[in-house]
Symmetry: D2
Subunit: 343 residues, 4 copies
């Protein structure tokens, strides 16, 4: 293997590269001159696709990174005295307003969790709760159902708050739920969405979708000040065009979800290993002996999730192959046997 190129493993879905169809599309729009900053036909087309997917009222803005999608979409609907409530697993980047976290066991917020932060309205000594932000799928690989989202949305709206969805892995959730995107976003009461592509085969490029009319009013200034306005925008737009053509997003996400399912199934054979979360998308969370993990990580780069409980995160991606799983399982068996031998 070439120096510095990793064995295809389970560290992160952003360690994978660009899907060939997406790279081809970049190449295909690379001709002639177009006006910069989004006033081009490819961007027009890509924005139109988002209207098809999420409804005609949807206003979409492309940015470079998932962090930017979250930070700026939240900036667009809050002021500095507002607070955003989110699961502590979300590690939401703050810009100006306060981030209040709730502890969950599976990365999913329920309205019961929210109680402790829902107070102090209209009181200037207290930050004003304005947004509930959920991740779909969550950082722990779990997935909200439509009715779970609807409940949070109704709760938020009853308090004059917005519901934001961090959709860095929204395609994996859509596949998991077997639903159209809009069924569990716009139609379920989500007001603003960070729609991610990078973790599912794009080079870079994320979309901020304002699903509730009126929210996008000044957003172009927010994006510009946030340094996220691409001069050669067509090369982000082209990626989204390819991403939706023939449901490439679904093919990629279905693949990584099924690889996670297989990985989880194969891991269940080992009594030393415990799967800690419902495997609903492309992440598998496992508790394994620390010394085993240490040995495995010499060959496969992957991240500890909780060092105290010896919990680790394994992510599959659009390019994970079955052989990658078998190799991993093979090595794991070897390491576990060694461990027993040593005892």
């Amino acid at each position: 293997m070439e120096k510095g190129i990793l064995k295809r493993g389970f560290a992160s879905d952003n360690n994978a590269g660009i899907h060939p169809d997406i790279l081809n599309e970049i190449s295909s729009v690379n001709k002639g001159h177009v006006v910069g900053y989004g006033s081009d036909v490819y961007t027009e087309k890509a924005l139109g696709i988002f209207k098809e997917q999420f409804g005609n009222a949807t206003e979409t803005f492309f940015v470079f990174t998932g962090t930017a999608a979250n930070v700026l979409s939240l900036s667009g609907i809050t002021r500095s005295w507002n607070s955003v409530i989110t699961a502590s697993t979300a590690h939401l980047e703050e810009d100006e307003c306060a981030v209040l976290t709730v502890e969950t066991t599976d990365g999913k917020i329920t309205i019961e969790h929210l109680d402790k932060h829902i107070h102090g309205f209209d009181f200037e000594h207290h930050s004003q709760p304005k947004v509930i932000s959920i991740s779909q799928s969550t950082e722990m690989g779990t997935v909200y159902t439509v009715s779970e989202i609807r409940k949070i949305a109704d709760f938020a709206h009853s308090k004059g708050m917005f519901l934001h969805m961090d959709g860095a892995r929204i395609s994996n959730a859509a596949v998991s739920l077997n639903l159209l995107f809009r069924a569990f976003t716009a139609d379920a009461g989500v007001d603003v969405l960070s729609f991610g592509g990078t973790k599912n085969g794009m080079m870079f490029g994320e979309a901020i979708c304002f699903l509730k009319p009126g929210l996008a009013k000044d957003f172009k200034y927010v994006r510009k000040q946030g340094m996220q306005l691409a001069s050669k925008m067509r090369f982000i737009s082209a990626q989204f065009i390819a991403y939706f053509r023939n449901d490439l997003w679904k093919t990629n996400a279905a693949h990584s979800n099924s690889m996670a399912r297989i990985l989880a199934d194969r891991l269940q054979q080992f009594k030393e290993i415990r799967i800690t979360q419902d495997v609903r998308s492309n992440g598998v969370f496992v508790i394994m002996p620390a010394e085993v993990a240490e040995k495995m990580r010499k060959h496969y780069f992957f991240y500890p999730w909780n060092e105290k409980t010896s919990e680790y995160r394994l992510m599959t991606s659009w390019d994970t192959e079955k052989a990658d799983i078998e190799d991993f399982i093979l090595l794991l068996r070897k390491v576990l046997n060694q461990g027993q031998a040593l005892t």
Copy 2:
């Protein structure tokens, strides 16, 4: 011509696409998994190239846009109570600190210009001048000589200030001066540089180079908070690798500079048109009758620079062809003759 694809004109060097060598390099690094956020071999290689070009002490950070390169590099060396002094043509984006402008006729600052802003040191009622920022080449297509830069650098350092260079078009300047990059940056006293690639054939990707040791200390946090840390960094790094291989930057910039030279020469035949700036890089600034410009702009998209004086900006790019110039001149002659006929 396909709908929405512009005739290759002179509106902006960012209306051009990606040079094929750069796109090929992106494709070439698109294999296997690598660690995200810049801990990959391609980024290591690309950062090494910057050390070769600017000296071993150089610390470089890649970001997405030229705006980000300027805003963040300045954020990295200032606090909110500082001010940055720049030419009014620079339209420097502000983050937190004050931007003080000086009026110039050719986009080039001299130390005589700076006088009016260099005061109030150590006085809390006054913003503290901390950076002088120059553009090389300038927004008006002019180019600073090494000795001009050195003078400003010495002045800045004598006041405890830094010299920042906005190098969105630094390659055009290097070709114009026929010098190595470092000769008119690090060696001439520049402390921090925004090194641009997008306007000269890259897709996107700019570099912030800290040339003076110590200045980059906390910059990784600035970039992260600035939402400019690419997860799939290898695809920016690859572009820079290709940009420096076989001096592609020089080929591209030399081409666009020479196209500007030819465009300017061809424009001089028309007595109705006056070239207002020294044509040193890839911009040609002309005063032409407003009604002529209006007619031309129906066929060629280009920007007015000063509506009051009827001054316009024409930019050439790495993909401008001689035929584009001849077509433009042909149409211009027709429009001018019509004008005379009408009189």
Copy 3:
């Protein structure tokens, strides 16, 4: 004279102390307990006075300093992508949004000055002009007439912008115009006002008055975040109560205005001294030989306004006495004669 206590001179109207009536009022409300942060009867009373003075729709917030009054009132009606246009003499403190300045000869903006900054609306690459800010009386001692203010207000409103007035010395202007406050503020189209008391006999305490309904909606959060919410608010409110009782503001301002008038008249006897601005309130601007100023400033602390033209600012205050002027003139005559003797 006690060490460190200055001869009562003409350095600044904030070098004066507290008017006895105001200090008495502080003492008079210093009894028993009241709820903090403005929920007390004294604050209720003081806010009511502002409604009487400026109209029933007026919403008023007390803050500690004039800088805070300007910064926060502007923050309350702008977003970070907006710009505020003001005279360059105003030295308006910026918070987030851009401050664009116009050069004036007398500190007074006219709509002709504004032209160069009124463009780029709805264009995200350009900061969005949102507020015109004028000072009344100006930093140069001049005063806008009602019709001048009305013209600027109409212009601002026609562009969808607000008119802000920095009234650090509004009482001096009201006396100069011989008008009620509301005649040249609310009734002349001013939307937001910084109403100053400190420079006219208060200890500290300024008021932000939102004159146009709706603008104060979220302002209580802005003030709280701006660290300008006084816990023992009653002691600011009491000062305003005393300030308006028996028109103390008018007595004080009329006195300092008339002292400025007398100072100017007395200065006109010296051919070496030229008064540069219309003396309309409590400032006298003079050009005098630098060496004369230098000698004077050994005895009287006062500020240079423009070192190049040898222009100086002399301010009178509510406690200036005629004898202070005579002493100053006496010394000035001596210094000027010495100068001639030396020549």
Copy 4:
């Protein structure tokens, strides 16, 4: 009782007014002119007192409010990517950097609490822990011992972090510990201190004391930008002069502490009431039946601390009188008896 003047109760120590000695001092410095913004003899004197109290290296800056003292002192020693760790009871206002909270039962942090936030150093995806902030006395009326503070300071310094103390009620703590201020601040390893006066008899005015040399380097700009630079500074300085003269701070704090002690003792007679915190300074925390509290609060304004557990906060102040306590106890007995009668 005059309308709007509250019965002297136990709502908050900032509901009390100004101690007469302090108001007299304001009056006493109200003569003649002095230079504004702190360049006056009274400020010089007051700053000197802080050097005497905390050591010669101490650099002190006066501001208006306790919020400002905390926000700005933390701003002065952090950057936007830093985090401050504090007890969740502290409700520390955030400016730019993240605030991480730890749950405590008595408002006092121990190094065991800190563990969960002390990680991620040098990792740009994580906010960088930079300050531990403790309140002395705490919001729950408890007091850190010197050795408790020293342990936290040593821990902080071993991590390259600073220790900040919110001393809004530092005088109450000094009395409680029977120590000089410096014994449990500078000498115990505190780097930066917010020294409060308002809650112990001043009108307004707090001090930020940088106890570790070098930390105050750019702070004058932070204060100015924070809109906390008083033009008539002498009237804050005078208050501090009076505050330290004849140890007025000690007289006042000793009084309010002893009143809290008496109040707590008297409350212990009621079996329906439970004191929840160690009464070390001027706060008494009690659990009492909600319906009793409700009846009491019709006569005495005081705050619920935790509505779920029916816990309430009672604060004494420099002007609390024994009779106030007796009246309160009398009413409480009546209300409790009624309650029994009703059952």
